[in-house]
């Protein structure tokens, strides 16, 4: 039971912290934000690592490798595309939008 409460606590705590962190992010960056959080949601890859830390049946191995490949796709693709996007956001040196 204490374990359950702890888990629920971690969930709530992260949700609230995440909420406050993310509501401050400018709308300018909402697409890269979604793309990055999408990559973060591939943390399931850690779950697969844990799954594979003990002996698994053949079925588990197959399902696990599918999960691993998909999560890796999500993780690498997500961070890579976010990086590509963010590199596009440029700021010129010196005063911008000056009218003279």
């Amino acid at each position: 039971m204490t374990n359950l409460l702890l888990m629920a606590g971690v969930f709530l705590f992260s949700f609230v912290i995440g909420y406050f962190l993310i509501s401050r992010i400018p709308t300018l960056l909402h697409t890269p934000l979604m793309s990055m959080t999408n990559a973060i949601s591939a943390v399931t890859i850690l779950g697969v690592l844990i799954l594979f830390s003990v002996t698994s049946t053949r079925t588990e191995q197959i399902i696990g490798s599918v999960a691993f490949a998909m999560a890796a796709f999500n993780l690498v693709g997500g961070f890579a595309i976010t990086d590509r996007m963010l590199r596009l956001f440029k700021k010129k040196e010196g005063g911008v939008g000056n009218n003279d």
């Binding site: 374990n3 359950l4 971690v10 969930f11 705590f13 992260s14 949700f15 995440g18 962190l21 993310i22 992010i25 400018p26 300018l28 697409t31 890269p32 979604m34 793309s35 990055m36 959080t37 999408n38 990559a39 973060i40 949601s41 591939a42 943390v43 399931t44 890859i45 779950g47 697969v48 690592l49 844990i50 799954l51 594979f52 830390s53 003990v54 698994s56 079925t59 588990e60 191995q61 696990g64 999960a67 490949a69 998909m70 890796a72 999500n74 993780l75 690498v76 693709g77 997500g78 961070f79 890579a80 990086d83 996007m85 963010l86 596009l88 956001f89 440029k90 700021k91 911008v96 939008g97």
Partner: protein
Amino acid sequence: MTETYSAMNLFLDFSVIGILILGIWLFRWPHRAKFGNLTAAFALACAAALILYRNGTQYPYIILLSLAVGSVAGYWVAKRITMIQIPAMVAFQHGAGGVAAFSLSLAELMRGSQHLGMMNEISGLLGLAIGSLTFSGSMIAGGKLSNKLGQTPRILPKHTWLVMINLIGIIVLIVAALYAPAGSRIFLYTLIILLSVLFGIVFSIRIGGADMPVLISFLNATAGLAAAFCGMIIENKLLISCGATVAASGSILTHVMCRAMNRSLFRVFVPVEESRQKPAVNDEQNRVAGPVEKEVRHQPVEENNFQKAVEIARKADKVIIIPGYGMAVAQAQFEVIDLSNKLLSMGKDVKFAIHPVAGRMPGHMNVLLAEAGVDYDMLEEMDAINPEFRDTDFSLVVGACDVVNPAAIETDGSPISGMPILLTHESKHVVCCNLDDKPGYSGVRNPLYENSNTVLLLGDAKETVRQLLENLSETSPATEESSGRDNPQDSKKEHLDSAITALSSAKKIIIIPGYGMALAQAQFKVVELASLLESMGAEVRFAIHPVAGRMPGHMNVLLAEAEVDYDKLCEMDEINSEFSQTDAVLVFGACDVVNPAAMDTKGTPISGMPILTAHDAKNIIVCNFDAKPGYSGVENTLYENPKTIMVLGDAASTAYDLTDALKAQN
């Protein structure tokens, strides 16, 4: 699976979470966000290393192989796609995340069904369901966003019920799986996955068009939630924490998108069900289905009538075409479509009104027109279009008789009394391209033919429509005095000139890019124009509406790709107060987000939606493809503003023309 946490381990865990939070925190500043992204990636890499170090692994080759396959594919796709495809790419990635989540849940449930606690098991089952529906929902969303599936919402009969029954089914299966004997559980797990996949499909196919940003944000949240539930099965805090953060992020973005469109989440997911009118008169179909006698006795069409018809067509702003089965028999659909394209290119609003019994089977006319290449957005069902006839200047009837016969609603006792018809007679002018003026299959005389505002062009529809089109193309625009919208070539030049005058004297300019700009791939030309204006001494900024683009912040990415300095990208709230001091506003492919009707009128789909107050500026130059309403279907009152200059046509070429003309002037 219980690990004894030493102080050191706890410290390491929190360090990883701390690095991750730092990464997200860095997203607050555009110039630090890139580092933030790498930081978050680094945090996850650390977490993976930590787990490997602590637990070791039994299957290094499986891991290496799947890692190689997944990352190479992910990296390859990420490098290849263009920025306009980002929403589709993100949707497909949500799908991959969904697969990973439900596969992991499945593996854990299969392994642990004997000794998992109740809560862990419930979490696992929820992870299974949410992961699967995220997968299928994302696939549908991705398909729609990449134009592989139709963009319009597809509504099945009793759609809301289907969704509800499906949902209840999933819940029942989850409960059953908790109490079922171990042997039959795997069967139930599979059923849960299948039913949830189905749920994701049924749920997302009826969301489309402008609501896509809400769907994609929502799927972002469910992907996070699925990951969090995966974490609950194995009681891993990092998984729960990351999943919850993503869920929070997705929820915020969903909320932002709904607010920006003035839609409630409920209305997005449960759109008002269209009453799918089944053909009311079934035997009408059979009668229509009979062979059409080829009449040889054409009376020659009076030249006079053609001139009248052309005159009507030229003056009209709003046109509805009513195709009947006679059109199909005459094989005139290609000519009709040429005509509709001509009218569209003249800046008119053209729609097709489809009566339920037009054609040989329900929906047949739609198929015929689709085959001839009509955009199905232009095809309107009877109930949807009937209220519009009143404001229509020109209705063109091609080979239809009974379905436009006002006797059906005006007289009693005739074979067609009570049959629902297209209210063509309410429009200002009607042109009938029918074979003859005899009654249709019902045998009831059509009083529409005798109305004073009806022009009859009798004869083979293919021939008459072609002739109409030719006359329309020939007529010299000089004889026309109406508003200038009628001739695109000349009026565009004229409007371009006034736009140039407004721009060259402007000191403060705001550009409003919409999704139309992105569709026309005009951003590079627009940015070029902006730099030119800047070099001429004007202050140029971009006003970004929250729902410009197909996902939150999409427009910023597209402009960043075109090398716009992000300092010049202004959010709606920040720039709205500045429009009144702005000399010129350039609208590129944006409609609903600058429609003052959102503020001025009540009861429209966009009423109350926050808009960019472009109408406050001294001059407004609208470079849209046409003057038709946007997704909302609400006429844009900005277009009628005396301060507005309409330069219609392809946004990229308009931007190019403007740039050229400005350069020539200097």
